[in-house]
């Protein structure tokens, strides 16, 4: 079963990504399809993540599955010294699929090698978070009507931001032009710029963040600049407001431009922007439900055809 697990989207073909988007689209039309009647989905959160857990559990519930699991690692035997393998083997006796969030990098890959049931990676440390990437791709496609040839602007913490790295890699099939807007301390790492060069992806780096720099954007992907990432706190104070998106910066924006954010937002998007047609982060979060329904079905071998038949 290990090959059906979802550890990363990095190796998915264009066709596979488009197929998953079509699956998610069916769930957008109707999320209540009892495709998992009689099945048990385990959600093992070795690291708390309320937003991701609720989204996965809602996905499982709307598919008709029962959900077991834990939201707080303090209640598990991991604190007594149990290995990840033992926990996974034990839960595999009860569940048909395991959704796992773990604080260690590579945990999902390892779990997929030892588990007799499919694993869905709900984030493993700073490594991969494929369901977030899937919902980002779905949202971009939903708002632009396509994935090909878009101008995608990434703003804020591009150094530690796992979501921007995963999105960058998953977009390689679709000839995007990336614009990276970040302070020096949080600039896009060289490894990802090299990745762009190796895959023929155009990118431009900016220091300024104003109405002119973002006037060509189709997607403005905002991230949080986190204080704890800075060694020099004076530097944080100096740059923190430079990457704040304000209403007046949208006056030259393209009509199709949409602002995305993986949430939670702290202060990087002015609240007035919520009322503009450009704001799309809450719809983006809702798409997480459809994307996760598609991913859970896919690892269990449920096809697009099966979904379409189950109205």
């Amino acid at each position: 079963m290990q090959n059906s697990s979802l550890v990363t989207l990095a190796n998915h073909s264009r066709e596979k990504i488009e197929y998953l988007i079509r699956m998610a689209h069916e769930f957008e039309k109707n999320p209540n399809r009892r495709l998992l009647d009689g099945k048990v989905v385990a959600t093992l959160f070795f690291e708390p993540s309320t937003r991701t857990r609720l989204s996965f559990e809602t996905a499982a519930n709307r598919l008709g599955a029962r959900v077991i699991g834990f939201a707080d690692p303090k209640v598990t035997s991991g604190t007594k010294g149990e290995t990840l393998k033992d926990t996974i083997m034990m839960v595999s006796n009860y569940a048909d699929v395991i959704v796992m969030r773990h604080y260690l990098e590579g945990a999902a890959q390892y779990a997929s090698e030892v588990a007799p049931v499919p694993i869905v990676n709900a984030g493993d440390g700073a490594n991969q978070h494929p369901s977030q990437t899937m919902l980002d791709l779905y949202t971009i496609n939903q708002t632009q009507g396509k994935l090909d040839g878009l101008n995608i602007y990434m703003v804020g913490d591009l150094k530690y931001g796992r979501t921007v790295h995963s999105l960058l890699m998953a977009m390689r099939h679709f000839s995007p032009t990336f614009h990276f807007i970040a302070p020096d301390e949080l600039a896009m790492p060289d490894i990802y710029k090299r990745y762009c060069e190796e895959h023929g992806i155009r990118y431009v780096e900016h220091q300024d963040f104003n109405a002119d720099t973002i006037s060509d954007a189709d997607i403005l992907y905002m991230t949080r600049v986190q204080k704890e990432r800075f060694v020099d706190l004076d530097e944080y104070e100096r740059v923190k407001d430079r990457y704040l998106l304000k209403c007046n910066m949208l006056k030259k924006a393209r009509p199709n431009m949409k602002i995305l954010h993986p949430l939670p937002r702290v202060n990087e998007i002015e609240y007035l922007i919520d009322e503009t047609p450009y704001a799309y982060y809450f719809q983006q979060a809702r798409n997480g439900l459809y994307a996760r329904q598609a991913l859970i079905c896919d690892v269990l071998g449920i096809t697009l055809d099966d979904i379409q038949k189950k109205l």
């Binding site: 990840l84 393998k85 260690l104 990098e105 590579g106 945990a107 390892y110 440390g125 490594n127 490894i191």
Partner: protein, 151 residues
Amino acid sequence: MTHDKLLVAAIENGTVIDHIPSDRLFDVVNLLHLEKMKTAVTVGFNLKSADMGHKSIIKVADKFFSDEELNQLSIVAPNVTLCIIRDYEIVEKRTVVMPELLVDTVKCSNPKCITNNEPMQTRFRAIGSNGDILRCCYCNRDIPRSEVRIK
């Protein structure tokens, strides 16, 4: 006969591993588990070398390693020379080739990698044009070959 050959006695049968960078000698010992060897092992450390300045050499009597065992040496000493000795004669001379997949030989440098927190084997893939970068199959950390630590 050259001076360093006098320092490290000839063997009748076995394997000679020559041109080991001296700072990697103990990595080679560990990779081949020479500490568990029952036959004679002769080690020459910091010998003068025309090509390398200083080198080390190991002679293992009555032991013929598998290709898999020897190719692991490419992680720490890609330019070693291997001589297979039978009846005091070199019957085969070869170099090592970097394996595509390294199983449980290299330690991941990422403390948050699952391999450093579970009783499990490590796996690395050699990438880059010369295989001079090793990528952890679990956390995807890239480690330049010069910074590799043996598990």
